[in-house]
Symmetry: C2
Subunit: 388 residues, 2 copies
């Protein structure tokens, strides 16, 4: 029996993690759940999975909801301290980190230092502080496992292969909703961008998919996780979204990971590793596909991809700056304060003004994150006309 | 430095093995070579690679050619004893078995018992006596590595995965030269069948590819090598011949092996394992392919495939019977003594008349092989009219 903490249990990855737990009750039990503020859904989860502790990050919501949870016999904690407690519970072996945005960073480091197996679904920790995180994991002996489907695929292809045998890593992309749209993307609306053809995900990640920033972030993530330079990582558009990742080895062999587009696949592997458990996913029948296609992405139409490569190559605090500026830009786009084409412009301008710390400690990364948010905001308020 | 014996060095796999050795002289050295009777090519190889010992299986040819080799300082051996000596030389770590047909069986067992790493390119040993061979390897501690490109692909996908996690193994087939031909295949000529679209191989294997018996044999081989029942092994036609093999795991994950169609890829991996060495193979660019297709094979037009499944499911001596009858039938087709459609008929009739040994020892397998050859011959001579 593996005891789990799930950070971000009411989000899309969190709910899918609980679906995996639900069909394997003999293998997994939930000891702790953490959410930002969705106490209604959390209550349902607590009734079903009976955790020992829950964290409601928002203190006011925590205070308001606490009596209801206490009646269930569940302890309620809150804030950064509460999150850290949930991430480091003594009885927990594996922590699933599925919190959107930079908020997950501190509890992930806490979990790694406490030698928990840490399964990471949100890109930000590995983007902002991937190198530091792997160093910390090496020091404590914790395992860091990816849940992002492309990285899970790479991990499964690479698992026990020496990194020196890697010639190239390939991340595939469905191409997002705008792969086939001709002409300018400047006037794309949030509703259009939120309509992703292959994956059902939260709004932030769906917009990242539409701008292809998700692949920019994934390049940084893969470079950090597998210790290869960004120059050895390629992105290919693969509209069928069946092949999630490929590894080319120095001898010319390629291994590819294929599967249906369902998040439960990488989630379950991160939970069951090193074993594999049966799963009632729909069967992948290659003969039912017309064919599999691969094409190079259009880097001019999707400049966010190159921004990801640039940030990875520069390194230091730059990936954190890219990530923070992207969060602000996506929020602005979703609330119609900037155009679709404004997203890469805001990020690039912020990156250009950043004073890089080459060998950051965690405090430098948080400082860069905070600086980039303010800077990106300033573009939105002061230079709105120019960005539109 | 890894010291090698190469059995069948003048055949297609043998020559490709020497090409791999040629570009990695710091890693591999050739201690022994064995051939059936092509002493001219063997002499060139001996001049270049300077083995200590060579085996010319044909005693008369060995006697005739011996003085020339002796002047090079190379010891000449012959016959079954000579082959066994070459397969078990004390100074050799790995034996590459690339002899066409059943002749390779005895030296492979000898090499396995002598705890050599045995890289097997010819299908027959694993088809005829795969279970016995793996039992012997388990006993001696020898490693048995596949060179056949599909099995090398499966091996690379499976390498360190527990067999209980396997849901299905898929072997791909280019479909052979007759995939798109409409109407009867009965009047196909040897010249047509020898014109394979993707792989340049010896005539026996090329005909096996045209009848799809190569896939029938590969199903048996994979079942023995990876210890999965034939019912868990699927054959898919994949005309691009880029994906060599796929593994489906119980959790819905698939790993696939991709590469250019060049035998040096699986040969080199079997030599360099567990490492990977750089290789000057042409680069595989997925974006340069129009698309990848997969389709179910036409089992009615290619009955040899089902014969392979049947033999694997029956087990015991039946795979050896299938293999022997197929050798005779292919020889007969190549010398125009039977029609293309006669090949599966001869095999099926031979299989029907076989008195199965369920738990054979090696002698039973040799006896079944000899019996099947005689039986298949008798169909050719006595019942020629009916088979045409």
């Amino acid at each position: 029996m593996k005891h789990l903490s799930i950070l971000g249990s009411t989000g899309s990855v969190g709910e899918n993690t609980l679906r995996v737990v639900r069909i394997h009750p003999e293998r997994f039990s939930v000891k702790a759940l953490a959410v930002k503020g969705n106490t209604e859904k959390l209550y349902e989860q607590a009734v079903e999975f009976r955790p020992k502790v829950i964290c409601i990050y928002d203190p006011q919501k925590a205070q308001k909801a606490a009596p209801r949870f206490k009646r269930l016999g569940v302890r309620v904690v809150t804030g950064d301290e509460g999150l850290e407690e949930v991430a480091t519970l003594a009885s927990v072996q594996e922590v699933v980190c599925a919190m959107v945005g930079a908020a997950g960073l501190k509890p992930i480091f806490a979990a790694v230092r406490a030698k928990k197996t840490v399964a990471i679904a949100n890109k930000e920790p590995l983007v902002m502080a991937g190198k530091l995180l792997l160093e910390a994991a090496e020091k404590s002996g914790a395992a860091v496992l990816p849940i992002d489907s492309e990285h899970s695929g790479l991990w499964q292809c690479l698992e026990k292969q020496d990194p020196s045998f890697i010639k190239k890593l390939t991340l595939t992309s469905s191409g997002g909703p705008f792969r086939k749209i001709k002409g300018s993307l400047a006037k794309i609306t949030p509703a259009q961008a939120l309509n992703h053809p292959k994956w059902k995900m939260g709004p932030k990640i769906t917009i990242d998919s539409a701008t292809m920033m998700n692949k920019g972030l994934e390049v940084i993530e893969a470079a950090n996780l597998f210790r290869v330079p960004a120059g050895k990582i390629e992105v290919l558009v693969h509209p069928e979204a069946i092949v999630h990742a490929l590894v080319e080895f120095v001898d010319g062999s390629h291994l590819a990971h294929l599967g249906v587009t369902d998040m439960r696949l990488p989630i379950q592997y991160a939970l069951s590793y090193p074993e594999r458990l049966p799963d009632p996913l729909p069967h992948l029948d290659l003969t039912q596909l017309a064919a599999l296609h691969f094409e190079k992405p259009d880097r001019k139409r999707f400049p966010c991809l190159d921004l990801g490569y640039t940030a990875s190559k520069i390194g230091g605090t730059m990936p954190a700056v890219l990530n923070a500026a992207n969060e602000i830009a996506v929020e602005a786009f979703l609330s119609r304060r900037t155009a679709f084409s404004g997203i890469p412009k805001i990020i690039e301008k912020t990156m250009r003004l950043h004073r890089l710390v080459y060998k950051p400690v965690l405090a430098d990364i948080f400082a860069a994150d905070a600086w980039a948010r303010l800077e990106a905001h300033s573009f939105l308020t002061m230079k709105k006309a120019r960005l539109a």
